[in-house]
């Protein structure tokens, strides 16, 4: 026994990890506590709710309301959760708004740096999607996620793109997308429409999105009736808003 305690303890398997022969408490402060800043987003603060996306013939449309919720408080009622990356790509994010602002800052700087290269190339939607997937997955692997679910849309080389990335690094593409409550309430509606008609016109896609936003406003307690819409076509990316949803409460009169 004396020999063991006199011997130096073996180094931990990885930084801050368990050392053989020692009791391991993952929650106890590790050797690097207080030395480096704790930079993990363990809980989202101001959050955005659903983001919707739909492909149409000749482009893609995404939509998000303009609310930043602080728990149940509708705190910031005029924030934009959509970002125009460049003339071919746009994205919208739900989840922590501070993390989205950070992401937007990083992406904006990337776009500037690319512009400075002056080679005529700019990021394609697929490229941004692929890059963001790596970023989100690597952050999650360090237990320091960007607490967002992101929808990336765009129109590049004559093809529509619509992709999803979340805070775990789960990524996929689909003809319609919805995050948050939209996945339960709006996605079935959008898929039903697309099952009947294999492709939509821009008007039809816009109407579908508006219908879904209205339903989300009725049913999602953390939603708001003011929203923005971003449309990517061969002409470029345009962010429109704020648009207001008109709610119809006539059925209330039927109930006594």
């Amino acid at each position: 026994m004396e020999a063991r305690s006199a011997r130096m303890l073996p180094p931990p398997f990885w930084a801050g990890g368990p050392a053989p022969g020692q009791a391991y408490d993952p929650c106890a402060p590790g050797p690097s506590t207080g030395v480096l800043p704790l930079t993990r987003t363990l809980s989202p603060m101001v959050t955005g709710t659903s983001v919707l996306g739909a492909k149409f013939d000749g482009g893609v449309i995404i939509a998000a309301d303009m609310l930043g919720s602080y728990g149940s408080l509708a705190r910031f009622r005029g924030i934009s959760r959509l970002l125009k990356v460049n003339d071919t790509t746009m994205l919208g994010a739900s989840g922590d708004y501070a993390d989205f602002q950070y992401l937007a800052q990083v992406i904006d700087q990337m776009v500037i740096d690319e512009e400075l290269l002056g080679d005529g190339h700019s990021y394609s939607p697929k490229a941004i999607h692929s890059w963001l997937t790596r970023v989100m997955y690597n952050r999650r692997s360090k237990i320091n996620p960007l607490w967002n679910t992101v929808v990336i849309g765009g129109f590049y080389n004559g093809e529509s793109f619509l992709g999803y990335v979340d805070m775990l690094g789960v990524a996929y593409e689909a003809p319609t997308l919805a995050t948050g409550y939209g996945a339960y309430l709006a996605q079935p509606l959008m898929r039903e429409v697309l099952e009947k008609k294999s492709s939509l016109t821009q008007e039809e896609a816009r109407d579908l999105i508006e219908r879904c936003m209205k339903i989300l406003y009725y049913r999602d307690a953390r939603s708001f009736n003011r929203y923005e819409v971003a449309i990517a076509t061969e002409k470029g990316v345009e962010v429109e808003g704020p648009l207001t949803l008109e709610a119809n409460w006539d059925i209330a009169h039927l109930v006594r």
Binding site: T39, S43, T149, A183
Partner: protein, 220 residues
């Protein structure tokens, strides 16, 4: 999905024993030509604290949350801003001050408990107000309220404020704080107001006797 569960669990985290903004009510409103800022004065240890901290000649911050955290961040920002102003050879922008707060508050978001409102006047954009709440986002607003007492006056503020108010109309600010203080057990003391314009900073302290609405009005 698990993520939604995590967001719902947010409620328990926020409204737990720490509350969402310490023991404070703070606010800032912009008018044409400057800003009016205000705060209550209560802390556990000091009932006449000053939560309106100058960051530069014409830039203030209203502090809520942990006093230690906000004082530390405010001092760091004041230093950075003083340096920046000397390099620039002109008064710093309010937005720059807000951005400096945001950088610290976002970076150290898991360690800090700081809800800050940055407000002031600069020659480029006049009076401006920026909110930097828990989590470290940055949001410019014509009017911002914060601290635990702010929950009680969201309705009053929504009903009585609109962008484009004059300086006199911004004296509603005192009433906002008085109402919040009378309902929030964690806020209280005196109301500290400051008006920041191109000409300078005018500070006022309003005690209980001078505040109307301090008794809760019709509902006692």
């Amino acid at each position: 999905m698990g993520l939604n569960g995590a967001v719902m669990g947010l409620g328990a985290h926020l409204w737990g024993s720490y509350g969402s903004g310490g023991t404070t009510t703070i606010m800032a409103a912009e008018f044409d030509g400057g800003v009016v800022i205000g705060a209550d004065s209560s802390y556990v240890a000091n009932r006449v604290t000053d939560k309106l901290t100058p960051i530069h000649d014409r830039i203030f911050c209203c502090r809520s949350g942990s006093a230690a955290d906000t004082q530390a961040v405010a001092e760091a920002v004041a230093y950075q801003l003083a340096f920046h102003s000397v390099e620039l050879q002109e008064p710093p922008r309010v937005r720059t001050a807000a951005r400096l707060f945001q950088q610290s508050c976002y970076r150290y978001r898991e360690e800090l408990s700081a809800g800050i409102i940055v407000a002031g006047w600069d020659p480029r954009r006049g009076g401006q107000v920026y909110a930097v709440p828990l989590g470290g986002l940055l949001h410019p607003q014509p009017l911002a309220i914060g601290g635990s007492g702010s929950s009680y006056v969201y309705g009053f503020v929504d009903a009585s404020f609109r962008p484009g108010l004059s300086r006199e109309e911004c004296t509603h600010s005192a009433l906002t704080l008085a109402l919040a203080m009378s309902r929030d057990g964690s806020s209280g003391g005196v109301v500290r107001l400051a008006t920041v314009t191109a000409e300078g900073v005018e500070r006022k302290v309003l005690t209980g006797a001078e505040l109307e609405g301090g008794e809760g009005g019709a509902m006692s």
